[in-house]
């Protein structure tokens, strides 16, 4: 076991790095894109609503692996030539955006109308209402779901191995095929994800406390 770790340690570290990088960028960009889509759907012109709905339903209705293949192998057919890593990150971004936008939709819906009306009556512009009122208020209900989906995305990253992104699953598979050892690589993979997810959920709970501090009793 030590021998294997010595030999494959650097590759595994590289793999962790790519996994974390593609997760972090995919989640962040997915969240930004999802937010923009939701803002467009909610405040934009009506003709955008149908295409947005179609986008969300398509992304949610097809397997991530299929989307990734379409992007990576089908992309060049329309002139979109991406290396494996950018293709993987873009794939995660698109996949994430559809789910994030739905979580945010429910979040926006849960903001009491009266709180928005109070802001309008005072003369706030829409952007101020969104950033200063709606987003902080909706985070109370939306944040757990957002963190939850960010956690789901950590595990979707293993699918990037199918388009040769050298992330942790890819490294583990290489290791398995070269050493015929299965238990150690899978164990390492599992421990990595367990720790990774634990970190994210702790961070998520801290964020939740930040957004809900005013609901806690401190009188």
């Amino acid at each position: 076991m030590t021998e294997i770790i010595q030999r494959y340690g650097p590759d595994l570290l590289t793999g962790f790095g790519y996994t974390i990088l593609s997760w972090a960028l995919g989640t962040l960009l997915g969240l930004v894109l999802g937010f923009m889509i939701e803002i467009a759907r909610r405040f934009g012109p009506a003709f955008l609503r149908y295409p947005i709905r179609a986008y969300v339903e398509f992304v949610r209705g097809t397997p991530f692996l299929v989307q990734l293949f379409v992007l990576y192998y089908g992309g060049p057919l329309i002139g979109l030539r991406l290396d494996a890593l950018p293709a993987g990150i873009l794939g995660l971004t698109i996949y994430g955006s559809a789910y994030f936008t739905e979580i945010l939709r429910a979040g926006f819906d849960a903001v009491p109308v009266g709180q928005v009306e109070a802001a309008r009556a005072i003369g706030f512009r829409n952007t101020t209402i969104i950033t200063r009122i709606m987003v902080p208020v909706m985070m109370v209900s939306a944040l757990p779901a957002l963190v939850n989906f960010a956690i789901i995305l950590t595990k979707e990253t293993v699918i990037l191995s199918m388009i040769t992104v050298p992330e942790i699953m890819f490294q583990t598979q290489t290791m398995m095929s070269e050493t015929f050892a299965f238990v150690a690589p899978i164990l390492i993979l599992a421990l990595f994800f367990w720790g990774f997810v634990e970190l994210i959920s702790r961070f998520g709970r801290r964020l939740e406390r930040r957004f809900t501090h005013y609901l806690l009793d401190r009188s």
Binding site: A118, A121, I122, F124, R125, N126, P136, V137, S219
Partner: protein, 262 residues
């Protein structure tokens, strides 16, 4: 609080529809400056809709609504809907207080009041907070500035909401059933603040079920039913000599519900 000149408001033949339902039927009403006008009537009579047409939280379908002589909601009578930035400018002059307070739960009392001063009036934070403190002091909540709404009673929340509105130095104030969501013992503190505002010469339009307040504080009482103004007059005229049979029966019903005979 520097006092601004009180504004008047004028509604001319205002109609408002929700689908096939007509909430306001050809309503005309003048709200005199510096006076308290109370709107009373059964629920669903259009009182709140009328109030919300004054600051265009509801866009009326036809007619004219003016603040002083400036049309609000449309560029010209029967013309295009007013541009958003123009509407925002006009709304700065109009304060509003809601039945459900509608404070922003993630902000302290002070932040709730200061936010508009910073974001809409463009004041620097220290200046905005200083003015917000003045407004909170005025409603008797100087010691509650760090409380979030969830740590305030209903009456205190409504007073913060009033402070939030008056801090913007409006020239007219709209109150949409400001005490209806309050426990009876908390109604007095809110009405007290409103009386104080009235005494300072603020133009106030108050939708209320508090007939006592209407009788004692209103300069004019407007009775609405089914989207129409049925009667208007001084509190004495409206409450003591109701000539309209619908008004008489509304008041009769109110007296029966609030009678102390068991």
């Amino acid at each position: 609080m520097t006092s601004q000149t009180a504004a008047s408001a004028h509604l001319r033949n205002v109609n408002k529809f929700y689908g096939p339902f007509q909430a306001l039927k050809d309503v005309s009403l003048d709200i005199p400056p510096g006076k308290v006008t109370c709107l009373i009537g059964p629920s669903g009579s259009g009182k709140s809709t009328l109030l919300r047409c004054i600051n265009v939280l509801e866009l009326y379908d036809s007619g004219e609504v003016r603040i002083d002589d400036q049309l609000i909601g449309y560029d010209s009578p029967g013309g295009k809907v007013m541009a958003a930035n123009r509407l925002r400018e006009m709304r700065r002059e109009i304060g509003m207080v809601f039945q459900q307070f509608n404070l922003w739960p993630h902000m302290t009392a002070l932040q709730n009041v200061a936010e508009g001063l910073e974001r809409v009036r463009g004041l620097k934070r220290p200046e905005a907070q200083a003015r917000a403190r003045e407004a909170l002091a005025k409603v008797g909540l100087a010691d509650k500035e760090d409380n979030h709404p969830s740590h305030l009673s209903g009456g205190q929340q409504q007073r913060v909401a009033i402070a939030r509105a008056i801090a913007m130095e409006p020239r007219i104030m709209l109150f949409d059933e400001p005490t209806s969501a309050l426990d009876p013992e908390l109604v007095g503190e809110v009405l007290g603040v409103m009386k104080q505002l009235a005494a300072e010469g603020m133009t106030m339009v108050v939708v209320t079920h508090e007939m006592g307040f209407a009788a004692h504080v209103a300069d004019r009482v407007v009775f609405m039913e089914r989207g129409e103004i049925v009667a208007t007059g001084s509190p004495r005229d409206v409450f003591n000599n109701p000539t309209d049979p619908r008004l008489a029966s509304f008041l009769q019903g109110y007296r029966e519900r609030n009678s102390l005979d068991f």
